[in-house]
Amino acid sequence: MTAARQTWQVTLRGLRVFVRQPAYVALTLAQPLIWLLLFGALFKAITQIPGFHGGSYIDFLTPGIVVMLAVSSAGWTGMGFIDDIAGGVMDRELASPVWRGALNAGSVIYAALVVALQTVLIVLLALALGANYVGGVGGVLLLILVAALLAAAFASLSNGVALLARQREALIGAVSFVILPLTFLSSALMQESLVPGWIRTVAKFNPVNWAVVAGRSAAMQHIDWGLVASRIGLLVAVALLSATLATRAFARYQRSL
């Protein structure tokens, strides 16, 4: 109970920062729209590749953009910890009896909520551009869930890296290093049957791809329940695992003080 209250208070702190910075809100909300329009224009021709059967280009790309954005948006979550460490906030919090898991979980939930909001915007814009959500509202909700779970996993990892490295540069390096390879080693932008075999193999183990596959099946196609449920299960497991690692990283951080 106390743990839940503390987690919510940490989430609330993030949400307040978010709504009090109108420029930040505008950028966060504009980003998904720009991505969808740019990637949509760039990859319009993929529907003409022989063997492509993903329907219209907007139908195919929308879940891919959602997932890419979830990773890149949540990847920066650790910046908050780095600011808190530099400002003395982290040490004050750690000198209190607060449950360490709440410090991570609170910021992770905040990151997931922002991603959920961004996903809603992408979904609406894609709808305006003619996307056909075969899965209906339920399918779209599952797409949002999948994006939020993936965001949660990466937000925890980002927090963990922040606690271990404590340097902005290190976190920027780690996030930039990871985002594009993980996106390209998935079917986010290209149909699985059209990518080289080794990428297909790697993608099987890539959480980003689990989210793309599940989101696409749920929202844009006739849902494959077995596929969606298993990928959601895997994403939940990864999110819990990375939350555990991030919570443990507090002890590592304190040892270095």
Binding site: Q9, R13, D91, R92, S96, P97, V98, L257
Partner: protein, 324 residues
Amino acid sequence: MTAAISASELRKSYPPEVRALDGLSISVAEGTIFGLLGPNGAGKSTTVRVLATLTRPDGGSAQVAGVDVLADPVGVRRAIGVVGQKHGCAPEATGRENLVLQGEFYGISGRELRTRVAESLERFGLGDAADRAAKTYSGGMQRRLDIAMGLLHRPQVLFLDEPTTGLDPEARVEMWQEIERLAQQERMTILLTTHYMEEADRLASRLAIVDRGRVVVEGTPGELKSGLRGDTIHVELDKAQGGEAREALASLDGVEEVSLEGATLHARAIDGGAAIPAVLAALDARGVRALSVTLARPSLDEVYLRHAGRAFARADSEREEVAA
């Protein structure tokens, strides 16, 4: 009297070879202000971090409010308030939000929390600024918010790590009055670190002078100063005449503890005023030119010099150079 804080033989090193704590021991009686005085890098903040369970020592043991810091860190955290060197408040949140968040971290909530937050804002003169972001506060206001946050859960022991560093003189005096009030009216045990002699002298009922990770001398400010017996004479010398100057004073009656630090000669005399002419004559006889002669009455600066073997200001700036 029972000890609210006791630390025994604390050791801690940071790789590759910084020995932050080298067998530091202190004991703080309940309801008193204890000062840890020393230059930058002496080990004061590391001591606070160990006692506040932010980090673990490599060796030694410590109890705070009767709880062992290694065996039950969470128990210690419940009993203490910590005001660190840096502002611990979230800059983008308002004063009120900072206090509420802090209260929740200590398991206080609901009406109880709202009441305490409102009282605390009034008490620290932040009532009008309660709903403004903390980053818009002046240095003194931020420091008051830090202390309000450290006290919200009514701790038995309060750690104040360099509470007035960076404050303007007016805000510093206000902070001193607040700290005195906490000790007198609330009988709170306070461990204060500072590198201001004046601050330690005014606030601490007992103090330990810390140098290179250990306590070099401990006592009340009065005891430490009266232990000096007499005045200190500082002679600033021309070029490299230090050796000769030291010899010149070594055999002089009424002058003792002659030591050389760089181009400055330190010596102690029971009656400094009477000794100065003799000191100048002795230097002159050897052809040593004195650039300036200063006489210092007993002060904590002199206590530090005597026990740490070097002048406080010099140790302080040396450390800063190393840090930079």
